[in-house]
């Protein structure tokens, strides 16, 4: 059941790849800033305030559309390294690193003295 909910979450979350994330941010900011500017200009030229408001509504809808996991955001899937399960116990339990750091710290301390 837990696996199923994970699966559902994964497919409804709208996950995209890293290049896609960068692209979506660029596209959405361009839509917002140019769309708001355009709505203001069109509203002023037509001398109708409601046209500007509708234009802002269109911008809001476009934000939602371009937030969806569109295929253009999924063109560069990341290449993951192959999963190699760690079998040797030596690598997992390794306190040697901690010891060496403390020893080097002691060495530097004696040098300064």
């Amino acid at each position: 059941m837990d696996e199923l909910s994970d699966l559902v979450q994964r497919y409804t979350a709208g996950l995209i790849d890293f290049r896609g994330q960068e692209l979506s941010e660029k596209i959405i900011s361009k839509i917002v800033y140019s769309g708001v500017g355009l709505a203001c200009v069109v509203g002023y030229v037509t001398q109708d305030f409601m046209i500007m408001v509708y234009g802002l509504g269109v911008v809001a809808v476009l934000i939602l559309i371009f937030s969806l996991p569109l295929p253009i955001y999924k063109k560069n899937p990341p290449t993951w390294l192959e999963y190699t399960p760690i079998t040797s116990s030596k690598v997992i339990i390794d306190h040697g690193d901690k010891k060496t750091t403390s020893a080097s710290a002691k060495k530097t301390a004696t040098k300064t003295d």
């Binding site: 979350a13 709208g14 996950l15 995209i16 994330q21 979506s24 941010e25 959405i28 900011s29 839509i31 917002v32 800033y33 708001v36 203001c40 509203g43 002023y44 037509t46 001398q47 109708d48 305030f49 802002l56 911008v59 809001a60 934000i63 939602l64 371009f66 937030s67 969806l68 996991p69």
Partner: protein
């Protein structure tokens, strides 16, 4: 930014920022447009301004503790075109006729400019912004802080003021220029001694002292 919710949240955050700047820009643009459009040169023509004075001793007309109040009502002709106040960002215009006069403050003894609204209207579309009225009656009966209003031989000037309520931005106020300098001397009206005579006897009527 990996999920749909986060991307849309970031997008609407940007939209909010953009709307903040847009609202300030539109507000300033509207003020600039009104100033450049010559809004302060709109003229209003008043004619046949006829004040009527009446003494009241009810609280509704400003009479408190038996001090009678002299109220003024007006009949006037007005011709003004407020179409120029309407642009894309005007929601409605509140137009009001005021009488302006000098009054003496009872506490400091200084002379102040005072304005009283005698008539007003709300204009919601430019089609109705052309106000042409013949023999219009003032909506409100007005009185001064002093008991006597017209009996002090007071000169009042009448003018039309406006207040634009925009859809987005700042409220703006203004006065129309009177095409003919409309100054009216309020007529003298002595206090009638028929009603509430006892109260009046205790005071000195200003009409008798001044004349």
């Amino acid at each position: 930014m990996d999920t749909f919710i986060r991307r849309s949240q970031a997008g609407f955050g940007k939209l909010t920022t953009a709307l903040t700047f847009l609202s300030v820009f539109v507000g300033l643009l509207t003020i600039l447009e009104l100033k450049l459009g010559g809004v302060s040169y709109i003229g209003a023509a008043f004619d046949n301004v006829e004040p009527t004075m009446r003494w009241f001793d009810t609280r509704m007309f400003g009479a408190i503790d038996g001090n009678r109040k002299e109220n003024a009502r007006f009949a006037f002709d007005m011709d003004v075109d407020l179409t120029g106040l309407f642009n894309w960002n005007t929601k409605q215009v509140y137009a009001y006729v005021t009488i302006d006069y000098d009054t003496m403050s009872t506490s400091s003894g200084l002379i102040n400019q005072n304005s009283l609204v005698i008539w007003d209207t709300i204009i919601e579309s430019p089609d109705r912004a052309n106000l042409t009225m013949k023999n219009a009656r003032s909506k409100y009966s007005v009185y001064d802080i002093q008991s006597a209003f017209g009996s002090l031989n007071r000169e009042v000037s009448i003018s039309l003021r406006w207040n634009i309520q925009p859809r987005l931005g700042f409220l703006s106020y203004g006065v129309t220029r009177s095409k003919n300098q409309m100054k009216v001397v309020l007529p003298r009206k002595p206090r009638s001694k028929t009603r509430s005579a006892k109260r009046v006897v205790s005071q000195t009527p200003p009409v008798e002292t001044s004349s």
